[in-house]
Symmetry: C2
């Protein structure tokens, strides 16, 4: 049960994206009390974004009828290469940031301890600690949304690599002969085959080519404002086009999971993010089956492939886990 109002201590988890910043208020048991959202507006410059993060955190706390004095720590998952030690975002292409002292600056504004990590690392950490209770040694978390990223936990610790960019799994090439272009400029990347962006693009292309789908009845011929949840609705109406597109995305995801199992041989692979949250029932069994087919037999033995619980919220949950872990 939640503790009594004024004495309650909370952690804030912040999921900082290229388009929006989401802040979640969590009790010490990591139960979500409330959230607040603001657009990032990175085009206004670093200082403006920092002030917006300050504001969304304070607003979230206020909306929950709490005060900043009750906040034990703020965790932030930032998109890009992050150095948790120095508290800097080394570079974040989506935000056009280089060497931003995110921790130091926000601690000044918020007057509470702030801890930062790469956004996918934060997601993996959250799943590892809250869902898996730290029971596995080596875990890879793959998060499928607008883009695709991963957080890697080896021997119970986050592994970030040389430039703190490990886990760029979305840009692992899995279909070199593909004509499908990725945002990074290359072709055949996992992200170009199975992200929400890739799924939506293919559906729009197929509709333009004259393919039929209930999505046009739901959203109009241009499939405007499509969301992952619309795809779930379409599959429940047994829509052939949507079924096929989702099956293909799940197939490529299965290959990517097998690649990770063959290369890193983790004990568990956890899948999360908005696409998995909306389409877990449609995708997970295909992903698991394909991964099993493509992974080497001895390598796959005993490895678990799991969907993240509360997959759409892994970002704020993980950031709160980071705050709780680090402010101890």
């Amino acid at each position: 049960m939640a503790e009594a109002g004024s004495k309650q201590e909370v952690y804030i988890g912040v999921d900082m994206g290229g388009t929006k910043v989401l802040a979640g208020v969590f009790d010490t048991q990591l139960r979500l009390i409330g959230t607040e959202k603001v657009s990032t507006k990175s085009e206004r410059g670093v200082d403006a974004v920092l002030e917006r993060i300050n504001r969304v955190v304070r607003d979230a706390v206020d909306e929950c009828d709490l005060t900043m004095k009750q906040v034990k720590g703020v965790g932030i998952g930032a998109p890009g290469a992050v150095d948790p030690g120095s508290g800097k975002v080394l570079f974040a292409p989506n935000l056009k940031w280089t060497d931003v002292p995110l921790k130091k600056d926000l601690e000044k504004r918020l007057e509470v301890p702030v801890f930062i990590e790469n956004d996918c690392n934060v997601c993996a950490l959250g799943v590892f600690e809250r869902q898996l209770k730290g029971k596995f040694k080596h875990v890879v978390g793959i998060f499928i949304g607008t883009g695709i990223g991963a957080g890697i936990i080896l021997d119970g610790k986050l592994f970030s690599g040389f430039n703190r960019t490990a886990g760029e799994i979305g840009h692992m090439v899995i279909d070199a002969g593909s004509e499908l272009k990725c945002g990074c400029g290359n072709k055949g990347c996992f992200e170009a085959l199975a992200s929400r962006t890739a799924i939506f693009k293919r559906l729009k292309d197929e509709v333009k080519r004259g393919e039929k789908t209930v999505l046009t009845e739901m959203l109009g011929d241009d499939l405007a404002n499509m969301r992952s949840g619309d795809l779930r609705k379409a599959t429940r109406k047994n829509d052939k086009l949507v079924n096929k597109v989702i099956e293909d995305a799940a197939y490529y995801t299965g290959i990517a999971v097998a690649n990770i199992i063959n290369v890193l041989n983790p004990e568990a692979v956890v899948l999360g993010g908005g696409v998995i949250d909306a389409l877990e029932g449609e995708m997970m069994s295909i992903i698991t089956e394909v991964a099993k087919d493509y992974a080497m037999q001895g390598t796959f033995k005993g490895v678990e492939i799991i969907a993240a619980i509360d997959a759409d919220n892994v970002g704020i949950v993980g950031a709160a886990v980071l705050a709780r872990r680090e402010s101890k």
Copy 2:
């Protein structure tokens, strides 16, 4: 300089393959004194193979005019999942071995300390310690021969994963749409696109299809007994078919290297094995260029792609490094 005969101490490095076992005698500075080779004959059963390893080690020592008393340790790289702690080969599909107490048994036969590891791990360890002098933190060694495997060093230590099978990079799918079959039964694996087996198969197929190459003048129309060195000779005669096939293999290798850099972000990727040993000049610049193209910019920064020195001998060198490291 080598020490005086009878007092000299040596390490033995054994590269245990599916078809042959190679033993190298090294001085304490890891200079190669001599080698001996025997066929594996795994079809004769575990005991016969163990006795053959015993024999090839003793023969190698004898050929160098040394005695077993001068051997400080024997290192063995075995093909499969190896548990160095228990000294067991957990499973080795090529040998049809399961739970073989390799260390214990050979220590009885050889009467000297024996240390075992997975063959690709041993290769990576050898390159890491002898060539790179341990100066990088995170290194992936990729070894291209009949098959393709990798050894992963993170934070200066070998990383083997949950089932001790990490590094099965040859079965990373990089061209899902490919029709090229891999020995593992799948299609589009790195090994099916760039191993010696894949390169030779493609050359034979192209010749059958009527393509011209100097290789047929050198080896006959069936390209019998082809070796990697023959390809080098052909490229030096500017043979168009061989050039094209090698370029393609290097291209896929570059993609695989980029995948590893994107996922693990090591500080260095080292390429070794018989194919690289024979075709370093032809392949390395293409591999590096393609890897740079496919790796994310921030991820690639400062990462080195290096050819292994003495690439064909990395197996025995690495095993000797293991022996020296462990018998200290």
